[in-house]
């Protein structure tokens, strides 16, 4: 969105307030929510992708080598990935200030 939402006028709205930019909510940094963050030990990662499957945000992506890593822009720190990882490659740590 070009304009910040608080500056939108009635004329900026599409007919019926239809939103025509698919997925534009993805600019919202849900990563600001978390109080703990996942840390990845790639020596244990077997690239199974279970963390990717089970993440409610869908924010696990693959590094160039194929290891799975959380995108901290979106990661809310729920801990599911750490809980479900079969090799214990992910651990949750307190989020820094």
């Amino acid at each position: 969105m070009a304009k910040p939402e608080s500056e939108l006028t009635w004329q900026d709205l599409e007919i019926g307030s239809i939103v025509t930019e698919p997925g534009n909510a993805s600019q919202y940094r849900t990563g600001d929510w978390r109080s703990q963050r996942p840390s990845h030990d790639f020596t244990k990662c077997i690239k199974c992708g279970l963390c990717y499957i089970f993440c409610p945000e869908g924010c696990l992506g693959q590094t160039a080598e194929g290891y799975f890593e959380a995108d901290l822009f979106y990661c809310k720190g729920c801990g599911i990935c750490a809980q479900e990882c079969p090799t214990g490659a992910i651990a949750m740590q307190q989020e820094e200030e």
């Binding site: 939402e5 009635w10 709205l13 019926g16």
Partner: protein, 391 residues
């Protein structure tokens, strides 16, 4: 060659929807609209109208299915009345605020309790604020004509709003009247095809129906209001084009001997035709009375209405609905509001009558006008007069 035939108005309405080549009809039966949806079912069953006929399980679902159909870009129609219109109440607001071009015929019916299948305008008045374009009709020909216009107005890119065509339950829906159905080719040319600009389709994903927090809700409502007001231009344009094509002319406010009348009666719906007979009779007796008929109800035709009453000294408004504990008739209170700031305005006297299918004869209208003139001179303690109640 278009023929003039005697037809039941509901059936003629169905034929109009067929001429318009509607795509989706979501139908739930309720007296006195049943003949409309029944005839449409026959037309679809016989292959005369190629449409998807959805026999929904309630009026709420009827209007909801219409939302979906219109959002996918289909030409959409439904009909209801009374309790049915009330059951879909919340959906009506959604249809207009989401700018979905749906056409609905309403066979105006009284609201329970007590249960009444008979005609009055209480169902229409209950949905005044829903943001729909609303038209009232006087006779069967008008019903057909306005249904056709409704599709054109609703689907116009400048409008994209749902349109309600009101016809009096039983008094119009169930009577046989002489009606000329236009030719199919003429209608096709007049209506064109529905080109909804942002339909739901995987080729161009859109999100419809986001929620609106306080920071934006006002803007969405103002946009809606501006759009509804501006749609009046399109209504007038449509009627002009209709007049050129089909040689029948419609105005938002129509007068009958109203230019020079000192006393005006205002009616809506089929009562207008009976009132005209009363006007004729009274004028023969030398009284300077006239009639104003409101055809366009929403958006309210402020300028046309003010022009129509500017020479009158007394305006008698007949409401066919009652707003309990308030100023009486909803139409009368809107009339008063429309004229309040005018420098020169007539005295206004409000009557409520014809509730629950109670007929008002030509004599009755004479009585109303006479009594209205009386109140205009002496004033009244009451906010309004109820006509025809046995006390």
């Amino acid at each position: 060659m278009a023929q003039r035939l005697g037809m039941e108005v509901s059936v003629a309405l169905g034929e109009a929807v067929k001429l318009a080549d509607a795509d989706v009809i979501a139908a739930y039966p309720i007296t006195p609209q049943t003949h409309i949806v029944e005839h449409l079912a026959e037309l679809v069953a016989d292959g005369e109208l190629d449409a998807e006929y959805i026999p929904v399980e309630s009026e709420h679902s009827a209007m909801s299915a219409c939302l979906g159909a219109a959002a996918s870009g289909a030409r959409t129609f439904t009909a209801s009345a009374g309790q049915g219109l009330e059951l879909m109440h919340e959906v009506l607001y959604v249809a207009s605020s989401m700018r979905l071009p749906i056409v609905m015929a309403v066979a105006n019916r009284a609201l329970s309790a007590p249960l009444s299948v008979w005609g009055d305008h209480s169902d229409a008045m209950a949905v005044r604020d829903t943001g729909w374009i609303q038209l009232f009709t006087e006779n069967g020909q008008e019903v057909v004509d306005q249904v056709l216009c409704a599709f054109r107005i609703a689907e116009d890119r400048r409008v994209l709003l749902p349109v309600m065509v009101h016809l009096d339950g039983f008094h119009l829906s169930h009577v046989i009247e002489p009606i000329t159905l236009p030719e199919q080719t003429q209608v096709e040319q007049f209506l064109g095809t529905n080109q909804y600009p942002l339909p739901l389709h995987p080729d161009k994903p859109v999100a419809m129906g986001d929620f609106g927090p306080p920071f934006i809700y006002t803007e969405t409502k103002w946009a809606q209001e501006v759009n509804l007001r501006k749609s009046k231009e399109v209504v007038l344009e449509c009627w002009q084009e209709f007049g050129r094509t089909f040689k029948r002319h419609y105005q938002p406010v129509e007068g009958y001997h109203s230019e020079d009348a000192r006393v005006l009666l205002l009616t809506m719906g089929s009562f207008s035709e009976t009132a005209m007979a009363a006007i004729d009779r009274m004028r023969q007796n030398g009284q300077e009375v006239g009639l104003i008929r409101l055809r366009l109800w929403r958006p309210f035709p402020f300028s046309e209405f003010r022009r129509a009453v500017k020479n009158a000294e007394l305006l008698i408004v007949l409401d066919r609905a009652i707003s309990f504990g308030g100023p009486g008739g909803p139409v009368c209170s809107e009339i008063r509001s429309a004229l309040y700031n005018q420098e020169k305005r007539p005295k206004i006297v409000g009557f409520v009558g014809g509730l629950g299918g109670r007929d008002i004869t030509v004599d009755g209208f004479e009585q109303i006008i006479t009594r209205g003139i009386e109140i205009g001179q002496t004033g009244s303690e009451q906010e309004f007069e109820i006509f025809g109640v046995r006390e």
